[in-house]
Symmetry: C2
Subunit: 229 residues, 2 copies
Amino acid sequence: METSSKFKIAILGGTGKEGKGLAYRWALAGHEVIIGSRQLEKAQAAVDEILAICSKPVKLTANTNEKAAQMQEIAVLTVPYTAHQAMVESIKPLITSKLLIDVTVPLVPPKVTRVQIPEAGSAAMEALSILGEGSRVVSAFQNISYERLMNDQEIDCDVLVSGTDKESRELVIALARDAGMRAWDAGPLENSIVAEGLTSILIHLNKKYAVEASGIRITGIPENHQDTN
Amino acid sequence: METSSKFKIAILGGTGKEGKGLAYRWALAGHEVIIGSRQLEKAQAAVDEILAICSKPVKLTANTNEKAAQMQEIAVLTVPYTAHQAMVESIKPLITSKLLIDVTVPLVPPKVTRVQIPEAGSAAMEALSILGEGSRVVSAFQNISYERLMNDQEIDCDVLVSGTDKESRELVIALARDAGMRAWDAGPLENSIVAEGLTSILIHLNKKYAVEASGIRITGIPENHQDTN
């Protein structure tokens, strides 16, 4: 079911599993997606890999991160934490008033099962502090096992969506639905540390209980729930 | 199913819904529980309330927080965040080498739907910093809707158990099972901010989607899971 309007989405640093998985699902849902990378060839290789498994024609192209950010109306950040700050600074002049969806998890190898709290409170709050008050930043998708995104499997994990404003959170909830996921409005962007930190706990659970992809589901809310505000 | 050994448990500041709910379930599971309060009369009133609904004889008594902490082998902290630091300091000399289970959520009214990160990283890490390195502190039960604990309902919410050491986490996982809950080893105590912060998100979900008790379930781990370490 494709519920949202069609958007022009740039997936920056989108050559990893996260970026390719989201690009695949959003392109199939009819959105116009550009995968960005520092090297155009790497972005093109990711695009070719996705096109090879698409069951129908899609709007998916490659470009540099800067061009991709400039051309599209929504920027999605799927970079390793070490590249996060520099990337946000470099795209800042290119995404003014655009929506930034931050998927970054502040993992610090090798202790990836230990929650790390960035000085700003979370990676997403760090992005907001760089972009400045009044910017639109939403945090989402950190807990999804991306291996499952590239092959039409049902995803047994909900998405917690926190963000600077309600409208942006609702847009990202609709985008998550387009990608086949159930998503929830998790409140202000300050709440992003929970979704970011949960990734470390899920990695710990995967190791501890010898599974590939633990996840979370929200309980206690009926499918036909009311939305009060 | 009662799987753990029987313990002597002090529930400090245990006259609120959280404390009474846990006391009720642990007492019914055969543990020896003392409810502590600053005022003995308040602790006794809580005990009387619980005894009135118990379906069989239990070992449940009232005392002051200090006496309760001194007498029992496990201390459980269910106080409002404003009382947290002072309480940990006051029981520090009484619980040396005992296990502290910290249920505290750093809620800051009126913005209870916004995650607050204490300077130490979480309420539980704050407790550890007061008690000192080498102390045994476990964080658990922050996400449980306590209204459901007092009436034998099934609880549609898992417990994330983080803590200073694996043995203490396993003990608390067994105690959660005794209280009718499914619990998971969520890793080191640094991970406590996720469970603490998740409470703010669940309160947000309750308001946003007009429900009484949203919760979380861990997915992707079979019931008959292996435990690798």
